[in-house]
Amino acid sequence: VTSPEAEARLAALARDYALRLPERVMELQSALAALARHWDAQAADGLRRGLHNLAGSGGAYGHAAISRHARAAELMVAALGQHAPDPAALAQIHAELSVLGAVAEAAAAAAVAGDRV
C-alpha cells in the first residue's frame, strides 16, 4: 500500500538522511583518527557500531553504496581485535572511510540538487 502522502514522507526522510551523511561519516573518520593516535578497544567498538548502524540504514534510504562501504569498514574494524593494530590495517580502514566520505558527499549533493529541480 502506498499513497502520495507516504511517498512524500519517504522522500523527505531520504533527503534529510542524505544531508546528514557527510557529517556522520566525518565523525567516524575523526573516531578513526583518534584511534590511530591512541588505541582504545572500547572506542574501536564504538566505531564498529557506528559503521554497523550506517550499513544497516544506508540501503533502506536508497544509498546502497553507503551500506556497502560502511559494511566493508565495519568488518575491517571488527577484525582488528583488542590490541593496537599495525598502521597498515588502520590505513586500509582510513582508505575505506575516505571512499565512504566521497559517497556521502555525493549523496548530500544529489539531495541538494533535487531541491533545485
Binding site: V1, T2, A6, R9, L10, L13, Y17, R49, H52, N53, A55, G56, S57, G58, G59, A60, Y61, A64, S67, R71
Partner: protein
C-alpha cells in the same frame, strides 16, 4: 482459521532505521506498531504488551538481540511468541544460531521500506497458515 497479523513490537537501537521501519510497517503496512530502542525496554514492554510478532535487531548496546530473545523465552507468555530477527549479521552460522533459538526467520538489513511489510506478512503467512 489463520491468525491475522495486526500488532508488531519492533526493537531497534538506531534512530534512522526505526524511523524508516515505522513508515514501512505502520504507514505503508497498516500494522499497529510499537517501537522499543533496546532489548531491556522491549522486555519491560512485554510484561504488559501482547504483540502478535516481535521484530528484533541483533546488534544493540546493552543486551543484544540474541540475549533479548533468550530472556523473552523465559517470560510466561514469551515461550511461543513469534520473533523475527532483522539484522545485517546474516551469515549461515548466524542464521543457524537464530533458528536454533526459535526465531521464525531473518530479514536482512538494509531492508527495502517499500517491500518490508510484505516481507513480514509473507513470513507470518508461512508460519500461521495464511496465503503464502
Amino acid at each position: 482459521m489463520a491468525r491475522e497479523l495486526k500488532h508488531i513490537l519492533y526493537v531497534e537501537d538506531e534512530p534512522d532505521i526505526r524511523t524508516i521501519a515505522e513508515l514501512a510497517l505502520a504507514t505503508l503496512g497498516g500494522y499497529r506498531l510499537e517501537v522499543c530502542d533496546s532489548g531491556l525496554a522491549a522486555l519491560a514492554r512485554l510484561e504488559h504488551a501482547r504483540p502478535d510478532l516481535v521484530l528484533l535487531d541483533v546488534m544493540m548496546p546493552g543486551i543484544d538481540g540474541v540475549q533479548t530473545l533468550e530472556r523473552l523465552r523465559a517470560l510466561p507468555h514469551g515461550r511461543e511468541l513469534p520473533v523475527v530477527f532483522m539484522t545485517a549479521k546474516a551469515q549461515p552460522p548466524e542464521l543457524a544460531q537464530y533458528r536454533a533459538l526459535g526465531a521464525l526467520d531473518v530479514i536482512t538489513k538494509p531492508f527495502d521500506p517499500l517491500t518490508l511489510a510484505a516481507q513480514v506478512q509473507a513470513i507470518w503467512d508461512r508460519h500461521h497458515g495464511g496465503t503464502p
